[in-house]
């Protein structure tokens, strides 16, 4: 009984901090209609800043808290709103998502530059204080957290229901254009909501530091937890969001208390937010088909079959020549770039043509890699098996996830990546927690040079296949479903099966690339496929161009070069990541990416 009380209090405290973070997310989203994937990252950077002021520079805790939450965080929110998000008003969900991922990756890069990895203990608030409730001790920090949650809830309630600004904000949620006609300035409200949202992310992040430790990725991924809570309130209702957050806190706390402490269950606990995310998504009603308005986009020109064949032949000739002249380490790196290019081809199909943004594509690479590694044969069938298993997993995920669209879907893929990372890839059936697997290369393709040629052949075949799809019936249908699912449905197209099919096909391509990746590396581990690797993948896809095979090739090479540049110029490592984020946030509007500039330079007409 005492234990139950203690864990309940602990759960409510954690839930209270989640609620603070989640309410910021809801406020920003409902007012500006931009879902801030970087919400957790803002909280992370601000928590580091708090550490800098309170622990490193010796400011009193209350002053540091005030400076960060009351000054730096809102100012930063305003900056992001002004220079990134405002330009994206009314843009498709995919665009704002990519910009948000760009901000996220950029912030992590910045944090790593400013605060290089080391242990950074943060003193809890009111350390000397605490009360006993029955047998359980409630620390001063816990009390502060609960007080903050109550204050935030009350403050937001008063703001939204008792002030003119709040009324205007609620009007903006329903129809910004209409609200504008009544003399409300949506941009000013959106800026305000970003300022408050960032402050809440910072407050939540700082309150959670004694619980989750100061860590770049863990705190950034708080966005999944916050999102799950916000989803309980359908990204709109603050009371439901608070309820969701408290519920999540309790579930996690009880999980710590009552689940066995074996390896699997420890991983399971970490996956709880992602798991609940799926539960909530499944409970949501199927999103209705959007009706109204012409959607169109200009892709880069699609080459005909002959040009495709010629280009593929030239590409293979170049790869073959390179394989003959370069030494093994270089060939290995080039092969890696081509394999990444193949992963990006899966995104050309899914994101470029199908308009579905997936934040979990690299996880399918992991599935393919595990399959090939576990089979352990040097027969070419292993690669196909990897593709088949990844495709099957893709279809399995797509069935529930594709009930929802756009933003919800993209975040569901993020939740999926987290689940796979914690529950499957790190489990004994895959790699094991810190384990790795040896992978034999295909018979006769033992050298790095041969691996390069093999990767080149696969890329050329898959690339030609993707283009054939684009030119043919399936490609037209894919684009039609992207532009207007409602019209497709009334023309007799089964929208759902098209979506599931293309998701599975794209997962299969990623799985095929995963098999190549595993054989190229010869040793693979779960850490190669962690959730976080998905984000640079999406950014490079968009920067290089997600609508063309050339873009995939370029993106693959860039993706391969990034760690090389980072290890070659350690001082620049973080700066590169920041640049990557900035480039993605800037380029998000043009999905044709860098290669469309190259194409334009090629054919000036």
């Amino acid at each position: 009984m005492t234990a139950l009380l203690a864990y309940t209090i602990f759960g409510l405290v954690t839930g209270g901090a989640y609620a603070v973070v989640a309410s910021g997310l809801v406020l920003t989203y409902s007012t500006s209609k931009v879902f801030n994937v970087g919400h957790g990252a803002i909280g992370m950077v601000m928590a580091f800043l708090y550490w800098e002021l309170a622990e490193n520079r010796g400011l009193p805790q209350w002053l540091a808290l005030l400076v960060v939450v009351g000054g730096c965080a809102p100012a930063f929110g305003l900056l992001i709103e002004r220079f990134v998000m405002r330009r994206l008003a009314g843009a498709p969900v995919g665009v704002t998502l990519v910009a948000g991922v760009g901000v996220l990756v950029g912030l992590i890069g910045a944090a790593q530059v400013i605060w290089p990895p080391q242990a950074r203990p943060v003193r809890p608030f009111l350390d000397a204080f605490g009360v006993h409730i029955g047998q359980s001790f409630v620390s001063g920090h816990d009390l502060v957290t609960l007080a903050c949650a109550v204050l935030v809830a009350t403050g937001l309630y008063l703001l939204l229901n008792r002030t003119r600004t709040g009324l205007a904000m609620r009007a903006c949620v329903d129809d910004p254009a209409l609200a504008g006609l009544y003399g409300i300035r949506p941009t000013r409200l959106s800026a305000l909501s970003w300022a408050i949202g960032s402050a809440l992310a910072a407050l939540g992040g700082i309150l959670l530091t004694p619980v989750v430790q100061l860590d770049y990725v863990t705190m950034t991924l708080l966005v999944i937890t916050a999102y799950t809570a916000a989803l309980v309130g359908r990204l709109r209702s603050l009371p439901w969001t608070f309820a969701g957050a408290l519920g999540l806190g309790l579930v996690q706390s009880y999980a710590v208390a009552y689940l066995p402490s074996s390896q699997f269950w420890i991983a399971f606990r970490a996956a709880i937010p992602a798991l609940l995310l799926f539960v909530v998504l499944l409970a949501l009603p199927q999103s209705p088909l959007r009706i109204g308005g012409v959607k169109g986009s200009r892709g880069v020109a699609v080459p005909n079959a002959r040009l495709t064949a010629v280009t593929a032949a030239v590409f293979l000739a170049v790869v073959l020549t390179l394989a003959l002249v370069v030494d093994a380490p270089v060939a290995g790196q080039l092969a890696l770039g081509v394999v990444f290019g193949t992963v990006l081809l899966s995104m050309v199909l899914l994101t470029g043509y199908g308009g579905v943004v997936s934040l979990g594509q690299f996880t399918f690479v992991g599935v393919g890699a595990v399959t090939v590694a576990r089979l352990g044969t040097s027969s070419p069938w292993a690669l196909l098996a990897g593709a088949a298993v990844a495709g099957a997993v893709g279809a399995l995920v797509a069935l529930p996830a594709l009930r929802v669209r756009g933003l919800y879907l993209a975040l569901a893929t993020l939740g999926f990546a987290q689940l796979m990372d914690k529950l499957v890839l790190q489990s004994p059936i895959a790699f094991g927690v810190r384990g790795s697997l040896q992978v034999p290369r295909l018979a006769g393709v033992g050298s790095a040079q041969a691996q390069l040629v093999l990767a080149g052949i696969v890329f050329a075949l898959v690339g030609a296949g993707v283009l054939a799809v684009r030119r043919g019936r399936l490609g037209r249908r894919l684009i039609a479903v992207r532009d207007s699912p409602a019209a497709c449905a009334t023309l007799g197209v089964n929208v759902r099966w098209i979506r599931v099919g293309v998701f599975a096909l794209s997962a299969a391509i990623a799985g095929l690339a995963g098999g190549l990746f595993a054989q190229l590396r010869e040793t693979v581990a779960a850490s190669d496929f962690q959730l976080f690797n998905n984000l640079p993948l999406l950014l490079f896809a968009v920067i290089a161009g997600v609508t063309s095979v050339t873009g995939a090739a370029l993106g693959g090479l860039l993706l391969m070069l990034l760690p090389l540049l980072q290890s070659g110029f350690p001082a620049l490592a973080g700066v590169l990541v920041v640049l990557l984020g900035v480039a993605a946030a800037g380029l998000a509007r043009d999905p044709n990416g860098l290669v469309s500039w190259i194409f334009r330079a090629w054919r000036p007409s």
Partner: protein, 228 residues
């Protein structure tokens, strides 16, 4: 086609309230009413894009209320959209081919269909670049590509000039002569009164009256709904 006691609620608002009406093969059925009368919502219900809160949709006497939009399309239902839903990234020709593909009809019919609605010259244009009137005709060509038995047209003439509207009226008569049932939601009263065999009048979600164009024209409630 028959709509039987259909009600659609959005929260507390009743957009369509217990409406029963029918449309016959070989005839143009008009569906008129002021904005917000529930005409487009009714089209959404008939095509299966929206589930009604109550009531049934019958095709040739069979209840299709539980069927999805793509299944109804295969039973011969097609529509155009008031707020355009062309595939903006595809060419005009490809728009029609997507519809032909879905019914396993040969792609060469696309040119024929585009000529029929008078869009031959637009065939290779990207669909989000054509003028509104042309986009409406494209939606018609695309709907015809599924060879529908029931064709629902949502304000097809807005964006057309007088001459194009007359040509459109002639096309409607051709379509019904082929034995199709056409339902026309339209604000152009000349077109409605000139083309329709029967007219249903909706107001605030309820069926106000049904009858021939002449009967409807002389109905007091109709004048009131439109003017008052």
């Amino acid at each position: 086609m028959r709509v039987d006691g259909v009600t659609v609620r959005f929260g507390d608002v009743v957009a369509v309230n217990d409406v029963t009406l029918s449309a016959d093969a070989g005839a143009v059925t008009g569906l008129i009413g002021p904005n917000g009368a529930g005409k487009t919502t009714l089209f959404d219900v008939i095509t299966g894009l929206r589930r009604p809160s109550a009531g049934r949709v019958l095709l040739d006497g069979a209840d299709v209320t539980a069927k999805g939009p793509h299944q109804r399309s295969r039973l011969g239902v097609a529509r155009t959209f008031q707020r355009l839903e062309v595939f903006g990234s595809l060419t005009v020709w490809e728009n029609v081919v997507v519809a032909l593909d879905s019914r396993r009809r040969p792609a060469r019919l696309a040119t024929e269909l585009l000529d029929r609605v008078g869009l031959g010259e637009f065939a290779s244009r990207q669909a989000d670049t054509v003028p509104t009137g042309a986009a409406r005709l494209l939606e018609l060509a695309r709907a015809l590509a599924t060879d529908p038995r029931l064709l629902l047209l949502d304000e097809p003439s807005s964006g057309l000039d007088r001459q194009e509207t007359d040509a459109f009226g002639a096309l409607l008569r051709e379509l019904t002569a082929e034995g199709r049932a056409v339902v026309l939601v339209e604000h152009d009263m000349d077109l409605v009164m000139g083309c329709c065999d029967r007219v249903h009048v909706l107001n605030l979600g309820q069926l106000l009256t049904s009858g021939t164009p002449d009967e409807v024209r002389s109905h007091d409630g109709v004048r009131e709904a439109y003017l008052g």
